[in-house]
Amino acid sequence: MPDFLYALDSDGVATITWDVAGRSMNVLSLAGIDALDALIDRALGDGAVRGVVITSAKKDFAGGMDLQVISQMQSGGAEAIFAGVMRLHHVLRKIERGGRDAKTLTGAKPIVAALTGTGLGIGYELPLACHRILVADTPKARIGLPEILVGLFPGAGGTTRLVRKLGLQAAAPYLLEGKLLDPQQAAAAGLIDEVVPAEVLLARAKAWVLAAKDADLVKPWDQKGYKMPGGAPYDPSGYMTYLAVSAMTQGKTMGVYPAARAVLQAAYEGALVGFDTALKVEARAFTSVLLDPTAGAMIRSLFLNKEALDKGARRPALPDESVRCLGVVGAGMMGAGIAHVAAIAGINVVLVDATVEAAERGKGHSASLLDKDIQRGKATDLTKAAVLGRISATADYAALAPCDLVIEAVFEDPKVKAEVIARVETVVAETCILATNTSTLPITGLAAASCRADKMLGVHFFSPVDKMALVEVIRGAKTGDRAVAKALDFVRALRKTPIVVNDARFFYANRCIIPYINEGIRMVAEGVEPALIEAAARMVGMPVGPLQLVDETSIDLAVRIAQATKAAMGAVYPDSAVDGVIFALAEQGRLGRKAGAGFYAYDSAGKRTGLWEGLGAFWPVAKDQPDLAQVQHRLLMIQALEAVRALEQGVLTDIREGDVGAILGWGFAPWSGGPFSWLDRIGAGAAVQMCHDLSKLGPRFAPPALLTDLAEKADGFYARFAAVSA
């Protein structure tokens, strides 16, 4: 079945209806481009046709380009990519011209985009080429250009048209941040022309077609004397805009996202030439982005593999385990956060704490988050009431009886947790799954306290729960498949991304984060300029430097972890250089942000004012400083090696989870696609060499056997494990 259907009504209005078979959301494929092109030719060539409405048979208009198209284009190299993009430009430009006379600019056939709902990526770029954009009034619909979030940019004329339509400054949030709007917001921002009731969408579109005049069918940029809104780069007004946007983007992206620079390059160069030349410029910039490994790595991890995990790629093949009633024990920050996101997802929650007051305080956390959403216009009093209505706060364990999943989120102490688990087990049904929320405690040990270890597992929510997209699901030695399925169905309901890992000290995320923090602290001890450590981390794409991170998570926690690890490891404990620093800070009472003092200094309002000036007195800055790249390699490699060891030791069983989890869990350099993608990108051989170079700093950089093996066989992680992960 073709992706587009064609129908001509008695008024002479042709309707082209997008309806890709077997998909809930339209995406544009190579065949689709051909089909659309042929139908446009047909409509423009048929004297009986007065105009065209392009719409969708689905609830939404289109979700974007079929990523298959991108990989097909990529495999053909620069020439194929450029030709493919220009082909798309050609079709969209044909729509924009509407068959008009090139000299008089008259005689075009009106072509209207009538969006039933969401239009993203090409789903908005195609409408941008039409003469008018109508969108059905569906508040959940989203309009915009999210390409930048997966390392691409709008390359089907979206960049060129939006900059010409709005000016660079106004277009920047959509192009550079992938900001999406609902239809009403999109109309107010000038992205679309009209929002109309869904039931009259087609009628209104046809009416516009029939009433359109020649002047309505020539875009401003196709008219003589067109001036770019806000000014072109060398207009006095535009000059400052282009200067500022470049600087802001450089500062925000830290120079590690090729697509951000490329989209600005296309905008700038495009603004200096005529429209058709600008499309060519845009196509060249887009081609360069597709040829850069960043886009491929980001698409793979942040789009394809994240989606696969979201849809349950790691879920045991068992019947639906949707959570009907959730129990949460412990209404502290984590417990309250979990209760909140569950209630938002429509799940009834029983929130238990030692006293009703404590439980109510946890519920109050949800109320205050909702109040903030109301202030921002993201929630209403009604939704607040509904969400809070789903949370019942109590001190009575018996209230947990109807729950099919209970998560305990009490203090991280094995004894306390064991007591709580035992108490929960006395009240819940035999089939109830018990999860313990922990970032560090081994699940297998906790499960020993349970009489039904197969129904127990660990979950590791990240803080703040309402913001962080990743959940680690930890399989203990005896955890059964149904427990895993239950946890994954719960995570899916929260619209978060799960990774399933096996039980070992610090699981996956903390196992990698701790060495990152420690490497930063080691460098302080070595006399590396602390500002350089932090800047190097950010400039390699980490969201926060290691010193800032440990201030956030607190120095005393680092001390406790160090003491526990040392006790567990004994003589082989490798981190005493780190301990020297954190113990000294702890002694000074510099326990991190919560103490208003740590590696950083803070003002009375708790705002970071800068690195603590006293650091130099404890750990004098060395005269010879390492270069930026060496600091960056240390900070990235120490994480990547830990990820490899987690895979070697079976904690991770799927590299997709290793990559997606690293980006969503702790912000591992998203441009890289994750630690395994990064190692593949530099190549196992080069990575092993880098390890040998870094090994002079300590055995922690010794290359793991798996990495050495890949290097010897000229293999890569995705090449070797793709079959497992497919």
């Binding site: 470049s246 450089q250 500062g251 620079r261 932090e534």
Partner: protein
């Protein structure tokens, strides 16, 4: 090698570079032509007297566009057989005009040149010619472009200069300029600007504020802090090049940065035969010239490497130089120069500089060279060095030797 001598050097007074500045009513062509006419008249030039007029000018659009040098020749009393060449190396344009003339003489081409420059900042605003390095992302993002004020503050941060040091330098610049005027030290080179009827328009540097005090400067807010720390956040861009710095200390403001002014300057350069032909006595030999490129982000450190280069090329050390003119684009530029060469502040910018009197971009290089020569004669010194920092990360220098 043919020697290149300076026979004369003149300059206009500097007018405030605003609509209410005295020179705002004078066109760039008219002011340039007045300089050419004055130089011709003072030195008895006539006919095809010089090989070329090399004219520095930064913002070459509008009335300063279209090869202003040629327009200026045609608007002057000079013979139309003399061509004109407009050049742009930003703030060093006027110095590079002289250097280019000298180097052509060194190479044996021609006998005489007029070199100099003009900038009417009140009429043709700075940056109105655009610059790809600021707005083309491949450069702006690729090289880490930031405005000069951020660069100047970055120099202060990197090399450890305080606000007080910068302000003290500014106060001293004002004091020295006022003293120089009071003692008539600029009178030899000063050519007042007159209208077509001979009426006086301006005969002194009107930007100066001799009563500037340290406490008055202390009250001024840093000029580049908002654009650096707020929107659009240039500090972040600069710090990506200097990651060992945690932040930039913003110390510059209008009082310790160069002034925006209108002005022009011209230098008569020639070989020995030229002097004989017109009966002129050479005042100084152009001993050496140099130009360099440096990191475009910190941008304004060029005077240090270019001075190292010119000294090395001429077998001299900083100790051999008697007097220095280091353009006061920003206080930190001069502080860095003094720090790098450990020179006595009494030898540097003896008669004040651009902070006190203003910095007419394309003209300044020729102006400070003339100021240097006048002071070398007044103080009876042998070797003098003039240098300027240059936008986009460059530097230029000239060494003069009195005959």
């Amino acid at each position: 090698m043919t020697e290149a001598f300076i026979f004369d050097a003149i300059r206009s007074p500097r007018g405030r570079g605003r609509a209410d500045g005295s020179l705002n009513e004078v066109t760039a062509v008219a002011l340039s032509a007045q300089m050419l006419d004055a130089l011709a008249a003072r030195n008895g030039l006539s006919g095809h007297a010089v090989e070329d007029v090399i004219w520095g000018n930064v913002t070459q659009v509008g009335e300063q566009g279209g090869c202003l040098a040629r327009s200026a020749v045609l608007a002057s009393s000079l013979d139309q057989a003399i061509p004109g060449l407009s050049i742009n190396r930003f703030c060093a344009s006027g110095l590079d005009a002289v250097n280019l003339a000298a180097n052509q003489l060194h190479g044996g081409l021609g006998q005489g040149y007029i070199a100099g420059g003009v900038e009417m900042m009140s009429r043709v605003p700075m940056s109105s010619d655009g610059a790809a390095i600021a707005v083309d992302p491949s450069l702006a993002m690729g090289t880490g472009f930031v405005p000069q004020g951020i660069s100047a503050d970055l120099i202060a941060t990197e090399y450890g200069f305080t606000r007080t040091q910068a302000d003290a330098l500014a106060v001293e610049s004002q004091r020295r300029a006022a003293l120089a005027w009071a003692e008539g030290r600029f009178s030899r080179s000063m050519v007042p600007v007159r209208d077509r009827n001979g009426l006086m328009i301006l005969d002194h540097d009107e930007y100066m504020r001799p009563d500037t005090s340290l406490s008055a400067l202390t009250a001024l807010k840093p000029a580049f802090q908002a654009m650096g720390e707020g929107m659009p956040g240039f500090d972040k861009v600069a710090l990506m090049k200097y990651p060992h710095l945690e932040r930039i200390h913003h110390i510059h403001h209008a009082g310790n940065s160069s002034g925006i002014v209108d002005g022009a300057a011209a230098v008569l350069v020639g070989d020995a035969a030229f002097g004989r032909r017109y009966g002129l006595k050479p005042r100084a030999r152009i001993r050496a010239t140099a130009k360099i490129g440096s990191d475009p982000t910190i941008m304004l450190t060029g005077p240090v490497p270019v001075t190292q280069r010119i000294l090395a090329g001429s077998g001299l050390s900083a100790r051999d130089i008697d007097l220095f003119e280091v353009n006061e684009a920003f206080a930190a530029v001069v502080l860095r120069f003094k720090q790098a060469f450990d020179v006595d502040p009494a030898q540097v910018n003896v008669n004040g500089g651009s902070i006190a009197m203003g910095h007419p971009l394309g003209a300044t290089g020729a102006m400070i060279l003339g100021t240097l020569l006048d002071e070398m004669e007044r103080a009876d010194k042998t070797l003098g060095l003039a240098t300027l920092c240059v936008a986009s990360g460059m530097g230029a220098a000239t060494i003069l030797e009195r005959i």
